[in-house]
């Protein structure tokens, strides 16, 4: 997929700009969303859906995250606590100054998606990158056909972006939202089961439809298998990958899959593109 990013030829691409966190929202017990602005109250940059930002807690470390949403004067990133660095991120309070650089990577193929029905599938925190595309689709509603959103979380407690999933998105025109949890709980009367089997259960029709899929590796693998079983073509299934990244500009080496770099040539790939690459994801 073509890379399309803001030219940073005049600026050192490895040095972040100083920004601040203006709001912290606890999405689930282990996911927080940060709203980020430049120090003078502006939007750090204007990412396209699916692009990444390198966020650094000065003195602690930096890591690559997907940008989940953006507004006039902010970007947002949802971060799950998985290691020592994200543990530190989760201590952040509004007003925290951080370094931000980006946007990095390619983006969801908006032009290819336009004019199609879209099936969005997310699992766990994997809904974060998908959300940037969902929001884009709703902001440009007339460019897209019918929209389905299928989201799976571990339990009802772990549903990320609850208002979106349970209230806002279901109200959108010509939109169906399917939420499932891996395990039942007393406060959950919705669907229980894993994403791949729910995909088959709903039985989405492949005609005129493209899929945007993101979640843990096992869900991407099994979810894709379910979609293929339903007759979807590999080039119509679009996913976004996560590997360890450091530089974000295709130089430092570690995020390669074959000759491609996830930070530069990805993170968005179609399944048919992934098929061309070595199995090392």
């Amino acid at each position: 997929m073509a890379v399309d990013h803001e030219c940073s030829c005049n600026k050192n691409p490895l040095v972040p700009s100083l920004c601040k966190v203006i709001a912290v929202k606890q999405e689930t017990p282990d996911i927080q969303t940060y709203t980020i602005q430049t120090l003078d109250g502006k939007k750090p940059f204007s990412p396209l859906p699916g692009q990444l930002a390198m966020i650094s807690l000065l003195g602690v470390g930096e890591a690559m995250f997907s940008i989940t949403a953006q507004g006039e004067d902010y970007i947002q990133s949802a971060i799950k606590r998985t290691g020592m660095l994200t543990e530190e991120f989760h201590q952040m309070q509004p007003g925290q100054e951080i370094g931000v650089r980006g946007p990095y990577g390619n983006h969801f193929p908006i032009d290819d998606l336009k004019g199609h029905d879209i099936l969005f599938i997310g699992g766990g925190v994997g809904i974060a990158p998908v959300r940037s595309m969902i929001r884009y689709a709703f902001e440009h509603r007339e460019d897209f056909g019918h929209i389905d959103i299928l989201y799976g979380a571990r339990s009802s407690n772990d549903i990320c972006f609850k208002e979106d999933c349970l209230e806002d998105w279901p109200k959108q025109p010509d939109t169906n939202v399917y939420i499932t949890t891996d395990v039942p709980s007393d406060d959950w009367d919705g669907h229980v089961g894993f994403v791949p089997s729910y995909i088959e259960e709903v039985g989405f029709k492949p005609e005129g439809k493209k899929v945007v899929l993101c979640g843990p590796p096992i869900m991407i693998k099994l979810g894709s298998a379910s979609l293929l079983k339903l007759g979807f073509a590999k080039e119509d299934i679009i996913t976004t990958l996560e590997l360890r990244m450091k530089c974000g500009i295709g130089k430092c080496g570690r995020c390669n899959i074959g000759s491609k770099f996830v930070c530069l040539d990805g993170p968005v790939f179609t399944l048919s593109e992934l098929d061309e690459l070595p199995d090392e994801k």
Partner: protein, 283 residues
């Protein structure tokens, strides 16, 4: 060598390797094979009968074989190791440190009268100490009177002279961890230096971080070093790494009496255990 020629030992190694594989209990036999250079061999995993014929025995078989037993900590089958005295001490080291299980090893011991490797000159254990089958007649062991000669000479320098020497050495270090990876005493499941998020070990190859690494490693292996010399041999920048571990061993010998590691009846590493009668002048 006592009794057998080099070629005969090589034949015996191949024969024992084939026997080991034929039992079906062994996944591979680790020994040496030739390279395109006559004076170099490389570690080799023979996995089939035909591959056993690629195993060689000559004066250039210098790489340690023992450490390869750690490649798979939970093996489905045994691994066979062709072990000289030093390799058997390496295996004892890892067994003592509870990183290996004896029942996962099949040790083909080979009596060794030294290789083209400087460290072999001071070898005190030409006979393998632990083995399942032995190739060659055991020879009489020698005591290395010069075991700490180099350390004693170096200790005579002033602290400034010694610091200057080591500072220059650590300026050369490229932080490749070859010494650690070749060392049988460096057998932690995860090295502190690889726990990159803890901030214990910086990754920059500058004097400061190289010294932190070198000293931490020296202290960590100091009372468990089997004196195989692999650290120094593998160092691409030729740092005299043994000088640190030997300094530790010399001090231990001075303080606690005769001390040598990698023997079958090894006690707890001396700095990792406490006895009431331990010397305590330093406290």
């Amino acid at each position: 060598m006592a009794g057998l020629t080099e070629a005969q030992v090589q034949d015996r190694i191949r024969e024992e390797a084939k026997k080991a594989l034929a039992t079906g209990e062994v996944s591979a036999v680790v020994g040496w094979t030739s390279t395109r250079f006559e004076d170099k061999t490389k570690p080799y995993f023979a996995e089939t009968e035909a591959e056993c014929d690629l195993l060689v025995w000559n004066k250039y078989c210098i790489n340690g074989t023992g450490k390869f037993a750690l490649d798979d900590r939970y093996p489905e089958k045994k691994i066979a190791i062709i072990a000289r005295g030093c390799d058997s001490r390496a295996l004892n080291r890892m067994l003592r440190d509870k990183q290996l299980k004896r029942e996962n090893l099949y040790i083909i011991g080979v009596v060794c009268d030294g290789k083209e490797n400087a460290v072999c000159e001071g070898c005190q254990h030409k006979n393998p100490l632990t083995y399942d089958v032995l190739i060659g007649e055991p020879v009489e062991e020698q005591i290395d009177a010069d075991r700490f000669k180099e350390i004693e000479a170096f200790e005579k320098l002033s602290p400034d002279e010694r610091y200057e020497y080591w500072a220059k050495q650590y300026d050369k270090c490229i932080h490749c961890y070859a010494c650690r990876n070749a060392c049988p005493a460096c057998n932690c499941v995860e090295c502190y230096a690889d726990q990159y998020r803890t901030g214990w070990q910086g990754k920059a190859a500058d004097r400061e971080q190289n010294q932190v690494y070198g000293l931490t490693r020296a202290y960590h292996v100091g009372d468990r070093c089997i004196e195989c010399g692999e650290c120094e041999r593998v160092c691409p920048m030729n740092l005299p790494i043994m000088r640190q571990t030997k300094k530790m061993l010399k001090d231990i010998n001075d303080l606690f009496g005769d001390y040598e590691c990698g023997l079958p009846d090894d006690a707890m590493p001396i700095l990792g255990s406490y006895k009431l009668e331990d010397p305590d002048e330093f406290m």
